[in-house]
Point group: C2
């Protein structure tokens, strides 16, 4: 390891550790913090971000990057060459923005997130609007500054933070392909399911403690190690923490166990990705998760591809009946599988089935592009949301609580994030198809609750790559093809329209 590069590793190690400290403060804010701690937590997070920003934008870092790229890049071996590239990527994002903008963003995001919790409960979009506008203004300001620096559009500059290399034009092209077949397919699935046996909903209440015990058993089956992670509750389920201590959260509904359970399995997929990142590159940019498309592909691989398969449901059904004290035909494999693969036009993205989910994402992609471009005003968001839902999903929310207030992303400053959910779903289908082609025993293993063959395959082909390559290259190397809609389409046809 040469001189400038070695110093860069020490600096980026510090940045990673500061980021992890911020991550824990955020986990705590969502999972355990009393509400009175919100304002000072916002200050703490803002200061940590400013310290990280000052560290990365110090002139010494620019000098070291230049020197390392000029004199040392050719001599770097293995993942360290990719690491230098990822260092530059992080530097470009951070260096584009002035420190006061970073601090203002952090603070206004903390405030807006806290208010969103109340505003959503109270169905009060107008009450949230001033703070949301402040967040949007700062997002747009950041996006424009970066756009000018990177030579891309402001929206592309935003997307690039979550999914390096993605851009609105190619997302649009992919979404157009989906839009070309999905509405007809949804129509067909719904009609077909209407002709099938009626779904018998298991009757609650299902005490949270029992749901939790069952969820922990399933997490362990997937491979989650409780010596290296926790399961907690929060308003909006998420996966935080660090590879050695992954923190996933969920929420429990005592009337309906099915959602919370799949929510946990979804987050467990995220957790497995974090746990599977290579220890040798720990705390370095090349060792981090590649981006949100691959991250989401791992949660959906576990939830949608594996856990909603007939094979896994045949393992789950008796366990669920035992854990939740259920008996009768509603706890049978056929009924539970019908329940877990039911397609319907719903209002809430996080509750959407895999067939209608892309429609929710396409709506958000469309709206956030318009808001960032200034083609739409926030005051018009609720109306545009209702119109878009009617057009894309086929139903209209009765209020903003179940409309444009449902997601934390925009109040949380995550603009340009939504498309990664659907790109992740496409990647999940493509990975699962390739994994099963390579290891035909996977479905049978899932029917015994054995995730080892599947996880082993993705560890090698996805997790171990971390950020040493692009998402596109990782997908292509793992599946033999570029990321596209075909495997996802075949998956939907197999699961919903076969026979």
């Amino acid at each position: 390891m040469t001189q400038a590069y070695g110093e860069l590793e020490r600096i980026f190690r510090r940045l990673a550790l500061l980021g992890e400290a911020s991550g824990l403060l955020q986990w705590d804010m969502a999972a355990v913090m009393p509400e009175g701690g919100a304002a000072i937590r916002g200050e703490q997070l803002a200061e940590l971000r400013v310290v990280a920003h000052e560290t990365l934008t110090h002139p010494r870092v620019a000098e070291l990057l230049d020197r390392a790229e000029r004199d040392e890049a050719g001599t770097l071996e293995g993942w360290r060459r990719a690491n230098l590239r990822e260092m530059r990527r992080g530097w470009r994002h951070s260096n584009a923005l002035p420190a006061d903008l970073v601090a203002a963003m952090s603070r206004s995001v903390s405030e807006c997130e806290m208010q969103w919790r109340e505003a959503r409960k109270a169905n009060d979009f107008e009450g949230l609007r001033p703070r949301l506008q402040r967040v949007l203004d700062l997002v747009v300001e950041s996006a424009r500054i970066k756009a000018a620096a990177f030579g891309v559009s402001p929206y592309d500059a935003l997307v690039d933070e979550y999914e390096p290399g993605a851009d609105a034009a190619s997302i649009q092209a992919t979404f157009d392909q989906l839009a070309a077949f999905l509405p007809g397919m949804i129509e067909e699935i719904i009609a077909r399911q209407a002709r099938g046996p009626a779904i018998l909903p298991p009757r609650g209440p299902f005490p949270a403690g029992r749901q939790r015990a069952l969820a922990e058993k399933l997490m362990a089956a997937v491979g989650f190690d409780f010596a290296h992670g926790r399961l907690d509750t929060s308003h909006h389920p998420f996966c935080g923490g660090v590879p050695e201590d992954v923190r996933i959260t969920t929420r429990w509904d005592e009337q309906d166990f099915t959602r919370g359970l799949m929510g946990v399995l979804h987050e467990t997929g995220h957790a497995m990705y974090e746990r599977g990142l290579p220890a040798a590159m720990r705390l370095q940019p090349a060792g981090a998760a590649r981006g949100m498309v691959l991250h989401e592909s791992q949660s959906l691989l576990v939830e949608m591809q594996a856990c909603r398969s007939r094979e896994f449901v045949s393992f789950l059904a008796p366990l669920a009946a035992e854990a939740l004290g259920g008996a009768g035909p509603e706890w049978g494999v056929d009924n539970l599988h019908r329940l877990y693969t039911k397609v319907s036009r719903g209002l809430i993205r996080v509750d959407a089935d895999e067939a209608t989910y892309p429609c929710h994402v396409i709506l958000r992609f469309r709206l956030e592009r318009a808001l960032v471009a200034g083609d739409m005003k926030l005051v018009d968001l609720p109306g545009a949301w209702r119109a878009g839902m009617r057009e894309l999903v086929g139903i209209e929310p009765p209020d903003d609580r179940d409309g444009c207030l449902q997601d934390i992303h925009w109040p949380g400053g995550a603009w340009g994030y939504f498309p990664t959910y659907t790109l992740g779903a496409l990647a999940a289908a493509q990975f699962f198809e390739a994994a099963v082609a390579a290891v035909p025993a996977i479905p049978d293993a899932l029917s015994r609750g054995d995730f080892a063959p599947l996880i082993y395959w993705v560890r090698q082909h996805v997790h171990a790559k971390a950020s040493t390559d692009s998402t596109a290259a990782i997908v292509e190397a793992a599946t033999g093809r570029g990321l596209g809609v075909d495997a996802f389409r075949r998956h939907l046809e197999r699961r919903y329209l076969a026979r």
Copy 2:
């Protein structure tokens, strides 16, 4: 506000926020972190400390301090003059130590703390010894460096971190005064209690959930605001967090509710101090708690002075009986008060009554002074502990688990901390005596569970002062006398030997 001073306020604000982030990481480590997260948490904490250390030891800070002291000190108003003095104090402590020593200390403390948990369970002092030696070596190295810089002894340099201005000679003088009357008084109390009615122990089990509900009710009575704090569990009870979000922890014993309950009330006293610190000085050195003597005085004021008084126990007894499903004479006020004022020679400091507690502290003071001075080796600690217990408390521990392994302080790097417990007990007695003299209604209010008059008095006379003055000056202004043993002695006589 002038120029150099204003810049210093911004720098110390950052230091405070970084310290609060570290504090949350530590709370999390004690209260919720899975064991697999320990190593990386140590790295995170070490890095945060190094960042803070680099910030405070940056040449610019020395320059600003010099300029502010030379040109601006005379023009600073109110608490800002004290703030400049406290900035210099913090700077002196931090600037004395090289960054790599700070990082090494942080890391070895994290490792040693984690191992202490196992070693205590396993009664394995020899297993802990190498890591404890490493911590001690680093403590001694730091102490020597500071001692040379401040012109004091190494042990005094350590004490000064926890209690500014305190020194071994005056602690020794105070402890000698205690040692002159305490052994005889303990003898007398024990003999007297032996002649009194036998104590009837309430019989468990007392489910942790019910104990918790009762504890929360009592915390609220003291004035704890759950919108600004939490109660959790940890191996070693402590008070962490920030004034807006105070985190106290305890441990529950389902066979004996009395300890956990008083533990919570003790930590609630700490929490009230944090909550009562002046908002105007928030995030500045002058606005922080003065030191561990006043901190402990506030926990003991609530626990020992208020909550173990006959008046408060008369409020507590029926509540406890109701909450824990108790009935019969063991739940009567007389019996519970006898239970809560029982004096006995025990092995465990944290379970000790207020009369024997100073003996535990004197032992630790004596041993840590010898270890820091190099007059004793760690390998000899278990034996010296047993001998000291025999001499000072009158009993000998059968093993190290209940001997020299019982406290987290030394593995946690807190050498020079123990004396503050007893100095705090003296201050608590002195404050309570002065508060009751000024507001005679306080005892009667406590019998109704009304802490408002007591808390109002300490808010004004202690909390509001934060670090604007020395402990000695705060005690003297509040009570009309310097800190001494007299009020404590009178308190013991009144409570244990009157009639």
